[in-house]
Subunit: 363 residues, 2 copies
Amino acid sequence: MKSSIEAVYHIRCEAGVVDGRARAIAVEQSVEMPVEGIEDECVLDEIVGEVHEIRDLGRGLFEARIGLNAQTTGDDAGQLMNMLFGNASLLDDVALHDAILPPEMLAAFGGPRQGFAELKARVGVSRRALTCSALKPQGMAPAALAALARRFAQGGVDYIKDDHGLAEQAYSPFADRVEAVATALRSGGFNTRYVPSLTGDLDTLRREIAIARENGIDTVMLAPIISGVSNMLALARDNPDMAILAHPALGGAARIAPPLLIGKLFRLFGAGAVVFPNYGGRFGYSRETCKALARAALDEWGKLRPSVPVPAGGMRLARVPELLDFYGAEVMLLIGGDLLAARERLVEETKAFVASVEGYAYG
Amino acid sequence: MKSSIEAVYHIRCEAGVVDGRARAIAVEQSVEMPVEGIEDECVLDEIVGEVHEIRDLGRGLFEARIGLNAQTTGDDAGQLMNMLFGNASLLDDVALHDAILPPEMLAAFGGPRQGFAELKARVGVSRRALTCSALKPQGMAPAALAALARRFAQGGVDYIKDDHGLAEQAYSPFADRVEAVATALRSGGFNTRYVPSLTGDLDTLRREIAIARENGIDTVMLAPIISGVSNMLALARDNPDMAILAHPALGGAARIAPPLLIGKLFRLFGAGAVVFPNYGGRFGYSRETCKALARAALDEWGKLRPSVPVPAGGMRLARVPELLDFYGAEVMLLIGGDLLAARERLVEETKAFVASVEGYAYG
């Protein structure tokens, strides 16, 4: 079989049935029908998934490496997700752990058009980690959000992203919000970049990118699992000057390994920065998961630009040295709530955040 | 708080911490920041999620009913998913069980433009269940798929859907496949409807719908979780004459209750038929889940048209009476692999399937 994709599944089952389970997944994720019903020799030779290897990981968990024909994806991002995990996502005992993709596919998708290096260059940073905070809570009017952005900028933060809950809402329409925040930062002479959150169907996403561009914005955020990965890729292709931050909302990530989904696939489909729940915060990712995710976003992979890992979710100022020890300079640290909770001391706390990141002795 | 959405979460935790966990989810799914950092009284009153009720379901599982402000969704389908389960999807111990939505929101999304009644009318069926089969395996050329469709039609099946693995692929381009299959059915004088599978970004989905329409096709399929629910809704709005079958691929459905995701939300966002893994097949849904899903698709819900439940996934001809006992006439039975496995007897087996559905004594 011509199996240029290798999908790696983790299967929870008895040792005696794992061969059959792996073969069933190979069939499910390719022809999805009884193999004995297939008359076409080409399909049997070229399309039916092939079990390459099964390894016992211990404690009733097995790893199955399954070859899939890359032609089945037609170089569409959504169809790649479908072939990797479409029906298998409905199987309780199967997780998608990794995917090894052929070089032609990496070239076809192309990865970030604006990656880590470009995100650093935008804010004139060379050796240190990047800093980021978040505009929230939703419910605030554009002028209030703009005033908040101005205070973050006074604190010297590199990027200010919308909370992923900010959308096209009556109390804060996208166009008004973007204009208010962009004007506040520009008129203040700040180099801080505002990253508005895009939502809606592809038409709406495009309208929002146009509004962002009119306001001099060069970095945007979206949630690829909500928007559909094919649509993120379309935006990346059509807007090679825009950096895209990917947000993990609805990513569940319990059944697709986060290093694969967020670190690898979001990068492949055009995200130059990937937000993920850091260990020790409000979410349950382990240190190992976070490290693997950061490596997947950064490691050499074909000719794809690296994406910057953006650990987030309940980070506190006091943890900055620990996080830089863990991630090094190749990271964008996102602290939102902890700065907002400082209220009237927000500018000072933001300055302390920035000073902590600038003053760290990078190895 | 003006809480017109009630989201129902199932939380696995110790009884002593459930109040705090529920409050944390209410905050996570609304303002996503420490409440003590919020200065705006309106946000505190109107936007912060509110725990309405907590029930002990036993065995360490709790149900929390949480009020969310409907304005936060801006009537966008993706943003509704985001507000219901965006960040909570990253919490291992939380599942989204149900969502009670305000009447205005049902009206704004509008549900299926072509629902169960229209799907029956298309094929001249009034009292019995509908029948469906699937074109597969992928890898076959258009002419071979067309020949297969012709044999299913000779067997008298109502609908023939593409396998959800069929996409825009070099060995079977969408336009060629649709033309070949549509021509085969039309030239044979069959009333059987062909349901091609749409994939790709919204532009591509629209191009494919246009091709389908040029070929006289009035029913299409897509996977809303892969395409993005906002894009399915855009297609439903722009193409009120097209019936849409929703496929659960990538739906995982382990963390969002399938009756909610597939039965309710896919219907709300425009799907007139919802495919789901039937109990006792290759997937793990229980009888109770399948029944609840079918009810959610069919039950009176505002002014939304009902969607037809389409149980699938390893169904066998011999189970038809059992399935009709279970679902009644309000179902579309989908049998793919079991008919294909009959090979040279495919037409006869399809006739037997149709006869079994037609001959059943509906209550």
